[in-house]
Symmetry: C2
């Protein structure tokens, strides 16, 4: 079997940290690019600022990878929706994929987002209208549009995994599940929205594994990487207080829902299940229990 | 009246060379950015490679312009539709507009293209579906999508002038009108397609003037900059042989039409006429006559 060498960006990120071992389990030789080395594994690490185009070009050329998993993006909780840094990551992503392809790369997978879609009441299928209401969504949507055209032009095999909502070990502070779990475990009150909106949550380890399987396939185009079952935020938080044993500390309605927040965001996962052949290992209850155990 | 300082990219290009004097006539102090200085006028020239992000940032900061006209893009005839350089120009455009805004810029206008649209039989209005069939079209379309979201986020006044087909003084070789005129004037045969497809042609001096008026307005979003009247290529070429007096030299059907070439590409120019208030000075006959005279 010929060596399959995958270049991974965002390897220290929330998904990336779990994607690296998943890729290694599938026999990939992993080369991580970024500012900080990933922990553990037999990954080769190449320090580089992904916004430094000439440096990226040099390293991509030196590695000569057959596969690329591009997960890196600006993702500071609370800030990334509206940040001008999204513009830099459009350019950096195009530069990276172009360098990869021009150095002989064959197969690329990158991370998209449910924020590319025009959010509406329907379950979101990959061919639904993309009309993002945020700068982050517009930047991701546009990156995909250019990369799909570039892939078609150059014969690159290219897939775009659209992330929905995530939780699990390693989640940063400032995000729903991590903040709720920390607050309730500490016996502190947790303020949140009214909580009736439904969101599609997946366990990050499962999502990382889905990306590894997607990488190892020849499925192309956009693929929703979600659970297919949106739950009301209230139900999710109820599961968390049952795990932590801290009822009565959740303050619903403490934060307003903005107008741009839709009632439901739910993935149609037909492509993920049928074409990629991915089935998540943990349901929401088990995933939350695992998260609680791991973060102790 | 306060000084209005406009930063212009692509000032030596086909549209740019005519846009600079048009802006000066409207009282703008023009600062051109690029590799080569524009000819004539009282333009200040700042040499810079627009693909060098840090250098662009430094110069934009030093100039402190209130207005930006971004026309530069990779445009080598025959090559630009499919070139990977389109990816670089997405990034460069985002970097430029961001730097301009962050240095206090108020109003930006950039050049789009009719190739952003899903080409069909209908006259193209600005709200028509954008689904480019080319890498060039995808790159321009995506650049606009990100810049519109960025403008909405930061309060930048932003318009996107979609160019249709152009002709006029200064047109490069490798394009229809320039090549046909040169060949027929020289008494050489001119091979072309069957020529039944209809295209929306504008005189470049008029288009440049439309951009100057658009810059001087507060109209935002995409604006078709076209004539509103597509003509069959055969009619256009007939006008050219009448001007050159060289009948019988046109070899129709010498080149095939590709499948992606639509029967008609025609601009709806309602926004341009009603909102921007622009009316072209020359019709097709006069514009071609002027072009012939100028290129002698």
């Amino acid at each position: 079997m010929s060596a399959r060498r995958v270049l991974v960006t965002g390897a220290t990120g929330f998904v990336g940290a779990h994607a690296v071992p998943a890729l290694e389990r599938r026999g990939f030789e992993v080369h991580a690019l970024g500012r900080r080395p990933p922990s553990g594994g037999c990954t080769t690490f190449h320090p580089v600022d992904l916004l430094d185009a000439p440096a990226v070009r040099r390293i991509v050329e030196a590695i000569g990878a057959s596969h690329l998993l591009h997960l890196a993006w600006y993702a500071e909780p609370g800030l990334y929706w509206r940040s001008a840094l999204n513009l830099d990551w459009v350019g950096a992503s195009l530069t990276l994929v172009r360098a990869f392809r021009e150095c002989g790369g064959q197969r690329a997978v990158a991370a998209g987002t449910c924020a590319e879609y025009a959010w509406g009441p329907e379950r979101l299928r990959e061919d639904a209208l993309c009309a993002p209401s945020t700068l982050y969504g517009a930047a991701k949507d546009s990156t995909r549009r250019v990369l799909e055209a570039y892939a078609a032009e150059t014969g690159l095999s290219f897939a775009w995994g659209r992330l929905f909502f995530l939780y699990g070990p390693g989640e940063k502070a400032g995000r729903l599940v991590s903040d709720a779990m920390r607050a309730l475990r500490a016996g502190e009150r947790f303020g949140t929205t009214a909580g009736y909106q439904r969101r599609d949550f997946s366990y990050v380890v499962d999502v990382a594994s889905a990306f590894a399987i997607l990488m190892d396939s020849d499925v192309s185009g956009p693929i929703n990487v979600g659970s297919g079952k949106a739950v009301p935020i209230r139900d999710l938080l109820e599961k968390i207080w049952r795990i932590t044993g801290q009822n009565g500390l959740i303050n619903y309605g403490a934060h307003p829902c903005t107008n741009s927040e839709p009632l439901a965001i739910e993935a149609d996962v037909t492509r993920l299940q049928k074409e990629v052949g991915f089935i998540p290992q943990l349901d929401l209850d088990s995933g939350l229990a695992e998260t609680f155990k791991n973060e102790k």
